[in-house]
């Protein structure tokens, strides 16, 4: 139980306590290059390969899995691994240099391994899932680029390379979300994701430039050291820089209100969703916050309340949205947003390990849930739970693994989600954020509730879809089982007060021995809090089951959950039913509707409002152009509805003498401003 110095590695002693990891570290850059190389190879030769490039992508991932597993093993036990290598590629003036390289430490090893493990499962699964689909080669190329960019991101020793990986992830996600671009909503979703991220990225880039200029370095270690020393140079800009970086993280990690892209990103093929929601993309923001943790811990403390606020709103509000979605992937997507809120809140509150531990466990069960959902969708050819039901008989493997994932996500003892959520609750309590902690407990209840609903609607009752659903082929179910194992067990590595022989604890993995992060890790289980969390989860599951389970109510009405007529008919049941349904009603009607309304109108409204503003301005300036052309977000963004008789129409009139007159007038205006006003 100790809050101690805040350096990751800057201290000399830290380096001494760590091993370099030998050739496994010295050549760890291969993990960054591998998927990128796979991308190039698939682009160039994929079409001529037997499995259209899938074998290369899977091969690269398998390589990474083996390599990162070795690193993970090396990092266990008593001494951690610490290695860093940078290659200077450009001096950009002012003493700043750009470097490419890789870093091997607890945090990055954990990320390498998660990306590789989840990536491998997803890639194998995708090989089965995409059979017979269009553009398989392109898909695996983009998937490799996606994973590769993420590795470049998490392997980066400096902020610049991080940006490169960051943008690469964004680009690849754009390609993947819009994979089935024949469907208009897909390409719109891709654009939305891209643009939302791009807006956030501007914050990141400016934040990085500010840090680089004030610090004279882009290195994370220099940043950490400067933060630890309360650097006088960095001090004045720290809050601004911290908030800007956080703004970037909000985009990638889908924090309210920049979360809007993530639910729409469901449009991509399901393996993409699994990868995106578990190991890559959305975790990047959390990772960035963890990497720059000392900045927030020491200098940018004023930024933390804002981060906690965003995280808390996200974790609770977005969870509610999962209650009303019919699209199974959308349920999972809102749940991801909500879980990301947990992680962000934890990291922002000082729970470095807690946030990352949840990232770690969440990666497995969320990937599992998505792949399971994909398997279901594969079978019933619909995303909507109203077309499912009773699938447990048809798809036993998918059913079992999905339930495991759901229980883990709900935080049921002793599955992995229980431990990581408990760690977050404990940290919030320890740091004194009691209100946030209880909101998080309530969020746990909501999580359990919607997962119960999802399981009940999907796997229980009677089948409501078309055709005869059948279990997916082994190439898809085996990855499910493979992911189910860590989804159950991953929690063991960080049980408070328990240090496993050989393996050590997750807390230790993330820090170099003897120099812990300045965060809190409980030495013993806080039974009361754990019980509260568990109670919330069980209550949520139970009530969810009461409301949506097969014995809950009249079949037809239960299935049509969207229809309010449901409730009067159920009045005659137990008071628990009343309570459950009342709760459903309370949550669904005012709260969820409100949140949904906020989501649909306010947030989208803001985005569309920005668009509309651009549109108005453009309309004002432009006007008069026909409305045909583009669609979706861009449509809203650039094409005005009325837009007649604008300024630009008048300015760019085609008459050259008017141009000449405006040129002279512009000169005069400039002269007046420069000579007389300023």
């Amino acid at each position: 139980m100790g809050v101690s110095t805040n350096l990751y590695l800057a201290a000399e002693g830290a380096a001494a306590a760590a091993t370099t990891g030998g050739i496994w570290s010295e050549w760890a850059g291969l993990m960054l290059i591998g998927p990128m190389l796979a991308f190039v190879v698939i682009v160039l030769f994929g079409k001529r390969m037997r499995y259209q490039g899938a074998e290369v992508a899977i091969g690269a991932m398998a390589f990474n899995f083996v390599w990162s597993s070795v690193l993970l093993l090396l990092n266990m036990g008593d001494s951690g691994v610490l290695y860093e290598r940078s290659l200077e590629i450009a001096a950009v003036g002012g003493g700043l240099v750009f470097e490419l390289g890789w870093i091997v430490d607890g945090l990055s090893i954990m990320m390498y391994w998660v990306v590789a493990a989840v990536g491998l499962a997803v890639f194998v699964y995708a090989h089965g899932y995409m059979k017979g689909e269009v553009r398989v080669t392109f898909f695996f190329a983009a998937l490799s680029l996606f994973a590769g960019s993420m590795l470049v991101l998490v392997g980066s020793p400096n902020l610049v390379q991080l940006i490169i990986g960051w943008e690469g992830v964004g680009l690849a996600s754009y390609l993947l979300i819009g994979h089935n671009w024949e469907l208009k909503e897909n390409s719109s979703a891709a654009m939305k994701a891209f643009y939302t991220n791009k807006v956030a990225d501007v914050g990141l880039v400016i934040g990085v430039i500010i840090i680089g200029i004030t610090l004279g370095s882009f290195h994370f270690w220099d940043l950490a050291a400067a933060a630890a020393e309360h650097s006088a140079a960095l001090g004045p800009v720290a809050v601004a820089a911290g908030l800007l970086l956080f703004f970037g993280a909000m985009g990638k990690s889908a924090q309210f209100p920049l979360h809007i892209w993530l639910p729409d990103a469901m449009a991509g093929p399901t393996p993409v969703s699994a990868l995106m929601h578990a190991a890559t993309m959305v975790t990047a923001g959390i990772y960035l916050m963890a990497r720059t943790f000392p900045l927030y811990q020491e200098l940018a403390t004023a930024a933390r309340p804002w981060m906690i606020a965003a995280g808390t709103i996200t974790l609770f509000g977005m969870g509610l949205l999962a209650l009303v979605a019919d699209d199974i992937k959308r349920v999972l997507a809102y749940s991801t947003v909500s879980q990301l809120g947990y992680m962000m809140t934890a990291v922002a509150a000082g729970g470095y390990t807690a946030g990352l531990f949840h990232l770690f466990t969440h990666a497995f069960f969320k990937a599992l849930l998505f792949l399971g959902a994909g398997s279901v969708i594969h079978a019933v050819h619909s995303n909507n739970m109203s077309d499912m039901g009773g699938l447990r008989r048809h798809m036993p493997d998918t059913y079992r693994t999905f339930v495991i994932g759901a229980l883990a996500l709900a935080g049921v003892f002793p599955l992995s989600g229980f431990w990581s959520k408990d760690e977050i609750l404990a940290t919030l309590g320890y740091e004194g954020y009691n209100l946030v902690m209880w909101i998080a407990v309530a969020g746990a209840f909501v999580t359990a509730f919607y997962m119960a609903r999802a399981v009940a609607l999907t796997f229980f009752g009677e089948y409501r879809g078309h055709g005869e659903p059948h279990e997916s082929p082994p190439i898809m179910t085996r990855p499910l089982w493979a992911l189910a194992v860590p989804a159950v067990l991953a929690g063991v590595v960080n049980i408070p007060g328990l240090k496993l022989p050989w393996i050590g604890s997750f807390t230790d993995w993330l820090s170099v021995r003897s120099v812990p992060m300045g965060d809190h890790h409980a030495e013993a289980i806080d039974v009361g809090l754990a019980a509260a969390g568990l109670a919330a989860a069980v209550a949520g599951l139970w009530l969810g089951w009461r409301a949506f389970g097969p014995s809950a109510a009249d079949r037809a009405d239960r299935d049509r959950v969207e229809i309010p007529v449901l409730y009067p008919l159920l009045r005659q049941k137990y008071y628990l039913d009343h309570a459950a349904l009342g709760l459903v009603w309370v949550i669904r009607q005012p709260a969820a509707r409100a949140v949904n309304w906020v989501n649909d109108y306010v947030i989208d409204g803001v985005v569309n409002g920005v668009g509309a503003l651009c549109q108005r301005l453009a309309g004002l300036l432009y006007g008069g152009v026909d409305q045909h052309g583009i669609d979706g977000v861009v449509h809203g963004l650039s094409w005005g509805t009325s837009g007649m008789g604008g300024l630009i129409r008048r300015i760019q009139s085609g008459r050259v003498q008017q141009y000449a007159g405006l040129l002279v007038a512009g000169l005069l205006l400039l002269a007046v401003v420069v000579l007389f006003v300023l």
Binding site: Y622, G624, I648, R649, Q652, G654, R655, V656, Q657, A660
Partner: protein, 101 residues
Amino acid sequence: MILNQFLILAALLFCMGVYGLLVRRNAVMVLLSVELMLAAVNINLVALEAFWQTSEALGQILAVFIITIAAAEVGIGLAIILLIFRNRRSANVDELNLMRW
């Protein structure tokens, strides 16, 4: 003689040229206005050279270059006007608005 009497005259001629460039519909007349502007610049240069009396007569030399280049510009301008006239049967500048916005 004071310097400014020349400079103000030049400024006046220059602004007349600007006015002509802005209002003349006929492209040839636009070109005439441009010549007026350049003549004004030359007056400026020669007067300021007289003021400075530089050892290398810098102002006048720049004026020589301007005169020469102006001649070239006239050639270019008339060629373009001819081209347009051949295609459109008109040398009116304000009829050229196929491209806008």
